[in-house]
């Protein structure tokens, strides 16, 4: 592996704002070589033999949990999955107690998804073990951003761009409740891209322009003009207490991605979605399944490679933790 000799001294991966341009570069480079592993007939390397990774998910997840599990296993780490239903949380154990219990079993890495923003920041102040953020509430989802960046990077020749500098990326839909949108705005801006946020006014965070340096649009047809990447977010109905939108029908009419709307973007613009998709709610099936435009399945494959790279750097033997 090319980056095997690099010194990595970051301990936790919690926010994309902690990650430098160089670090993103290292992770993507490592992920590219991990893809090679994933194409082999025997998809296993001994890189993390003897390391223990605990995946702790306080929210449902298919792709993120599976890809973290597989990522650990393909590098020969011992991977433990713990799914915690909110009902057992209600029985009384605090988050910190649960994590301290697991830490006592001496894992090398804790991969955590939690419904509350800031859960990881709080835990990182109270635990010694490295924490990888697999999603915290509405705050961040850094590995999703890294895999999205890798996916865009792969498509740059197709889009007709040489790099991220000046690339126009539109992130569309439920931005208020989206940790993917936050991590991507930060990560893509770190690399020099222009980021637009497009959605109904009720689903845009307060002072988004100042907070994230993005351009905000409410009219999707205007916002999509000339963009190189169209990233559609899932409408997170489970995080919505209160009437943010009047109906799904109305939402799709104004903020759903269909073919006519996609035509406003650059002719070679790619379509992304972090999944799981609500077909007919935020994206039309013919767009989602269009092999010429949609890179949604590539995102999933890259998710595995990026998570291997992340585990490698954060649990690997080259880690020097501060």
């Amino acid at each position: 592996m090319t980056s095997g000799t690099q010194v990595w001294d970051r301990k936790h991966l919690i926010s994309m704002s902690d990650v430098t341009r160089d670090e993103i570069g290292h992770i993507l480079e490592t992920a590219a070589s991990m893809r090679e592993v994933n194409r082999r007939e025997i998809k296993k390397v001994p890189t993390l033999r003897g390391k223990t990774v605990i995946n702790l998910f306080y929210e449902n997840s298919t792709r993120t949990r599976t890809s973290f599990e597989l990522a650990g296993k393909r590098m020969s780490a011992d991977v433990i999955n713990v799914s915690v239903s909110t009902s057992s949380v209600a029985k009384g154990e605090t988050l910190l107690d649960t994590l301290e219990t697991l830490q006592a079993m001496t894992p090398d890495l804790l991969v955590l998804r939690h419904p509350e923003s800031g859960a990881h920041a709080f835990l990182s102040r109270n635990l010694d073990t490295s924490i990888i953020n697999a999603g915290d509430g509405r705050h961040e989802h850094p590995t999703q951003s890294l895999l999205d960046i890798l996916t865009i990077k792969d498509q740059l020749p197709l889009i007709g761009k040489r790099g991220f500098e000046g690339l126009k990326v539109a992130i569309c839909g439920d931005l208020l409740n989206s940790r993917v949108a936050r991590s991507n705005a930060i990560g893509l801006k770190t690399l020099g891209a222009h980021v637009r946020w497009i959605g109904p006014p009720t689903l845009i965070p307060a002072q988004a322009e100042e907070a994230f340096g993005v351009e905000v649009f409410h009219d999707m047809d205007v916002g999509l003009e000339d963009v190189d990447v169209v990233m559609i977010l899932r409408l997170q109905r489970e995080r919505m207490q209160g009437a943010f939108i009047p109906s799904v029908r109305e939402y799709f009419e104004f903020w759903g991605l269909n073919r006519q709307r996609l035509a406003k973007a650059q002719p070679n613009a790619i379509v992304m979605h972090p999944g799981p998709m609500n077909r007919g709610v935020e994206i039309a099936s013919d767009v989602a399944d269009d092999p010429e435009r949609s890179v949604i399945r590539h995102q999933v494959g890259n998710g595995l490679a990026v998570r291997m790279a992340v585990l490698y750097h954060f649990a690997g033997s080259s880690v020097r933790k501060g």
């Binding site: 605090t94 988050l95 910190l96 939690h114 509350e116 923003s117 800031g118 859960a119 920041a121 709080f122 102040r125 109270n126 915290d136 509430g137 509405r138 705050h139 961040e140 940790r179 936050r182 965070p205 307060a206 002072q207 988004a208 100042e210 907070a211 994230f212 207490q241 209160g242």
Partner: protein, 438 residues
């Protein structure tokens, strides 16, 4: 003839806004009462002397907004523990909010609090009764009987009175007893699941926000009700530019309206939440820089005449959780005085205005016989070293709870001695002084 108990506080800088006094003077205390002030001679031989040369002598602070959690949440704080924090902070009188368990909505609870205060408290406690039974916002309490039992004001603090009709009745009915009705002004339907100020920081942290309008809407509504009823209305912990301006306009109109500001709101902003610091979480939340400056301006313009802490003790476990799940509230009794003095250094208030805001003014709003160094009044006196620096740490704080949002901050101004009715309850050398064990 009984032995007289005489005490002379000698040669301090005495600031007493009620008497427009700011001069070097001696204070003679006899049997717990202020007997004389000035350059005193002919001091009886058996008089105990406290040398206050180089120190500032002010009326004991009156904090009109304190939660003591007793009865019901003694694991968070008790009357005894809370009174120790008060003594160490130079606070000699505090008005305690009604959100205890059971709620202070009945004279039996008020009697319990006053009896426990008599036995255990180092400082004076003036209970505030609930506006509505059970703090539910539906039916007003027995305000007359509660006042007779010792209540100095009414408030559902912790919760707003959401129903306009109930608030109208409270403001109207309380006129018969001339007590202020104190509102915790937050429109709950706008607060929703919000846990910090809405804005840039909140968006970055991915938390749900509480807009300024949530406070302004309730204050605007209540001011109309104050106009309708002629009742005495007081806004607790005012935190926004909009609400402050609204109160200013109502005062110009001649309505009987007052408000208080908490030191955290005129000192910190939502950026001080940093990386999800749960000790910077309270209701109403830390606001923007613009709001913080507006609160300081409101103090300078005399719209906000009282500084009160909203001292809200919590156990460690209530704060050692994810931000959204952490309890609201911060302790403030021991940082109230230095943070108020910072307003003097910043040119916001004069010395007299600052001391009035923490003593005479709140005493006036509550109608209590405190907050001044007048002859004949109880000798509730705080002696401070105004330039002395100290750092807020958990170990430095008294009382049961340590949930201060100023941990790690350096304070300027340190209480040297606190006297309640002439009795020394705290000194910087000896710490808390109890005559008898609890």
């Amino acid at each position: 003839m009984q032995d007289r108990n005489a005490l002379l506080i000698k040669a301090g800088r005495v600031i007493d806004p009620a008497n427009d006094r700011d001069e070097t003077a001696d204070i003679l205390v006899v049997d717990g009462t202020i007997q004389d002030i000035g350059r005193l001679t002919d001091i009886p031989a058996d008089t105990e002397i406290i040398d206050a040369d180089g120190l500032t002598v002010i009326p004991g602070l009156v904090d009109m907004h304190v939660h003591l959690r007793d009865p019901g949440y003694e694991y968070k704080e008790t009357i005894a523990g809370g009174s120790e924090a008060a003594a160490a902070g130079g606070v000699t009188a505090m008005a305690t909010m009604a959100n205890t368990k059971p709620v202070a909505d009945d004279i039996t609870v008020i009697r319990f609090i006053l009896e426990k205060a008599r036995l255990e408290s180092l400082v004076n406690i003036f209970p505030i009764g609930a506006i509505s039974k059970g703090l539910k916002g539906d039916e007003i309490t027995e305000m007359g009987l509660l006042k007779k039992a010792g209540c100095v004001a009414f408030s559902d603090d912790g919760f707003p009175v959401m129903k306009s009709g109930v608030m109208r009745r409270a403001l109207e009915y309380s006129r018969a007893f001339d007590v202020p009705v104190i509102q915790h002004a937050e429109d709950l339907s706008l607060v929703g699941c919000g846990c910090m100020n809405e804005g840039l920081i909140c968006s970055r942290l991915g938390l749900q926000g509480i807009p300024n309008a949530s406070e302004a809407i309730i204050v605007d509504r209540d001011l109309r009700l104050a106009e309708l009823t002629g009742g005495r209305y007081h806004v607790a912990h005012i935190s926004t530019l909009e609400a402050m301006e609204a109160v200013g306009k109502a005062q110009k109109k001649g309505l009987r309206v007052t408000c208080e500001a908490a030191p955290h709101h005129f000192t910190l902003t939502d950026t001080d939440i940093g990386d999800y610091n749960t000790n910077a979480k309270m209701a109403p939340p830390l606001r923007s820089q613009q709001d913080r400056n507006a609160i300081r301006e409101g103090l300078a313009r005399g719209i906000i005449t009282a500084i009160a802490t909203d001292h809200a003790p919590h156990d460690e476990d209530s704060k050692r959780v994810e931000f959204c799940n952490a309890s609201n509230g911060v302790v403030g009794l021991e940082t109230m005085l230095p943070l108020t003095l910072a307003l003097v250094r910043d040119g916001v208030l004069t010395w007299k205005q600052a001391i009035a805001a923490v003593s005479w003014n709140p005493a006036g709003i509550l109608g209590i016989n405190r907050g001044t160094l007048s002859i004949g009044r109880p000798a509730d006196i705080t002696i401070l070293a105004p330039e002395e620096r100290w750092t807020v740490t958990k170990a430095a704080l008294h009382g049961t709870a340590k949930n201060s949002c100023f941990i790690g901050h350096t304070m300027r101004g340190q209480v040297q001695k606190t006297l309640v009715s002439g009795r020394l309850v705290y000194s910087s050398e000896r710490g808390i002084i109890r005559e008898s064990a609890l």
